[in-house]
């Protein structure tokens, strides 16, 4: 039973060691040590599986479910955090790199993220969600001498506390209808008998999760946070919590609440359309790359939500594929943003003009990430969109697929605009070369190579997803 939560235990112990033990006088050992902790945490479940141990199933009297879905999303989260540690290692300006508290907070946030995909009890779900949220507020306000960063963190915190409070009220309504916090035991007939209260509870839950995913009516914090907070923190907040939240949504809505899909599917369909449209239209006039990426990540969350709204195994598989692609392309791009922010101190688009003449390799890697975000074949981002739209068509949501396709055209426009800035705009006079940091170069190359691999050679990932998606989902298996 304990083996299933060994990664969480290891990371908690590691976080405390990093914070307290005096032997780490030199800040240089912080990055390798945190990276090693994350790598070991990712390796433990893989090693146990290879040695023939089975996954635990429902543990701790059914509170935590350690199945293939949990395993897959936990590995994804650890990959994302590992890449974030590499990003921090290349951040010379913000001063996060040498602060042991930063790594402590990062690892503890990771513990919360690892608990989210497996949470099978609404109380544990709320606890894990709040662990992630409260620590993310602190991470984003970490540079307390930087007024912008603290302002962004305060906005994030006020939005966040409000929406998780609303989420908790929704949970209390669900409990009132169902009489249990165990999401496997929620009697769906009882929910069906009082559709008004159920709908209210679902809307309240959607507010809470929508905040974490930055869906549109609840996205107000995202642009400010992306602009104000240090780039590595933004890179973390824009990927890992979203992936974990989508895992929660798959387990809660698609698996256990699928009998009342008619109530929530339409809600998520509308949220998806509004989120994509507003995100993409607002991204068009942006002149700051981090702000542009905020709106782009809002739009991507909307596109992923289509997979959820489809409500089928195909939809869940497409969502998971999209999540992998989004992790790689967004983290890769934020590594470039970090490098530029350390070199220039800001991230307006003007800083990036003519980057191809200044740093050809970095510009090329950035361009691949941007094209993948824009959905240009044969990169993984394109196939993510393709699977998601395919799931919508199969799920009789053709209007949603059409809305998504129109939106990807708008999205391609502003990503190509950034690529044009990189390649065609003139290099401002007096630019110094950007110091190359090994961890950033390596991380970006890894992301770009993986984007090509996942795009051109999809078989292995699709096969993994076929195994991972729970068999309770209609129509039983993934149709690829």
């Amino acid at each position: 039973m304990v083996t299933a939560i060994l990664p969480e235990l290891l990371l908690t112990a590691g976080a405390i060691v990093l914070l307290l033990l005096p032997f780490l006088r030199s800040a240089r050992s912080l990055v390798p040590l945190s990276f090693a902790l994350i790598a070991v945490a990712a390796a433990i479940p893989v090693g146990l599986l290879l040695r023939g141990h089975s996954l635990g199933g429902a543990l701790f009297s059914g509170v935590f479910m350690f199945d293939k879905l949990t395993f897959f999303f936990q590995e994804l989260i650890l990959l994302s955090v590992g890449l974030v540690v590499m990003t921090v290692a290349g951040d010379a300006r913000s001063g996060l790199r040498d602060r042991r508290e930063f790594y402590c907070l990062l690892l503890l946030t990771t513990v919360g993220l690892l608990l989210m995909p497996g949470a099978q009890n609404l109380v544990l779900l709320y606890l894990a969600l709040e662990l992630v949220s409260v620590l993310s507020y602190l991470l984003s306000g970490f540079k307390k001498q930087d007024g912008l960063s603290v302002e962004a963190a305060l906005k994030y915190l006020l939005f966040g506390l409000l929406s998780t409070g609303v989420l908790l009220y929704g949970i209390s309504l669900i409990y009132g209808l169902a009489g249990t916090m165990d999401i496997r035991a929620i009697p769906v007939e009882a929910l069906r008998q009082s559709p008004a209260v159920t709908l209210a509870a679902l809307i309240l839950l959607a507010v809470g999760f929508g905040f974490k995913l930055s869906l549109v009516p609840f996205h107000g914090w995202a642009p400010d946070l992306y602009e104000g907070a240090p780039a590595p923190v933004v890179s973390f907040i824009s990927v890992a919590p979203k992936i974990a939240t989508f895992a929660v949504l798959i387990r809660l809505f698609m698996v256990w609440l699928s009998p009342i899909a008619d109530l929530w599917a339409i809600l998520f369909s509308f949220l998806a359309v509004i989120t994509m449209t507003v995100g993409n239209l607002a991204a068009l006039p942006q002149t700051n790359l981090k702000r542009l990426l905020a709106y782009s990540s809002i739009a991507h969350a909307g596109t992923m939500l289509i997979g959820l709204a489809a409500g089928t195994a195909f939809g869940a598989g497409a969502l998971a594929y999209y999540a992998v692609a989004y992790l790689l392309m967004n983290t890769g791009l934020f590594m470039a943003v970090t490098a530029m922010e350390s070199a220039e101190g800001r991230s307006d688009l003007a800083v990036y003009s003519g980057l191809a003449q200044r740093e050809p390799t970095m510009a090329a890697l950035m361009a691949v990430c941007l094209l993948s975000l824009g959905g240009i074949p044969p990169l993984a981002g394109f196939f993510g969109k393709m699977w998601v739209f395919g799931a919508a068509l199969k799920g009789n949501l053709a209007w949603l697929a059409v809305a998504g396709a129109v939106n990807s055209v708008i999205a391609a426009f502003y990503y190509l605009k950034v690529v044009k800035t990189l390649y065609l705009d003139p290099l401002p006079a007096g630019c110094k070369p950007i110091p190359c940091v090994e961890s950033l170069c390596f991380g970006m190359s890894f992301c770009v190579v993986m984007l090509f691999v996942l795009g051109l050679w999809q078989g292995p990932l699709l096969e993994i997803l076929r195994l991972v998606i729970p068999s309770q989902l209609p129509p039983g298996s993934v149709p690829w």
């Binding site: 606890l127 709040e130 305060l154 915190l157 006020l158 409000l162 409070g165 949970i171 009132g176 009489g179």
Partner: protein
């Protein structure tokens, strides 16, 4: 005499509405935090009332409520820390005067 569950639910719904209204209209950041605490407490009240009416898993739910109170305290601590930090930078905690970022 036992207070009926429906009465408690009405009170908690009122608290929730009050908290939501306060959080959306207050200008002072500490005031917003206080309104959010109201929302959390209304949810707690709901949970306690429901657990009494379901009757089966009382201990479970009371522990859950204690956990929620703990989390609310942690959130308030993070909030006050950030408010303190921003009041040093801007000499104000009025939410509508803290607007160097566009959002």
């Amino acid at each position: 005499m036992l207070i009926p569950t429906s009465h408690i639910l009405v009170v908690s719904a009122g608290l929730f509405a009050l908290g939501l209204f306060g959080a959306l209209t207050r200008r002072n950041a500490v005031g917003i935090l206080m309104s959010i605490e109201l929302i959390l407490n209304s949810a707690n009240l709901n949970l306690i009332a429901f657990s009494r009416s379901w009757g089966t898993q009382q201990a479970d739910l009371q522990v859950a409520v204690l956990i929620v109170i703990g989390i609310a305290a942690a959130g308030a601590v993070a909030g006050l820390a950030l408010i303190l930090a921003i009041s040093r930078h801007r000499q104000t905690i009025q939410a509508d005067e803290i607007k160097e970022l566009k959002g």
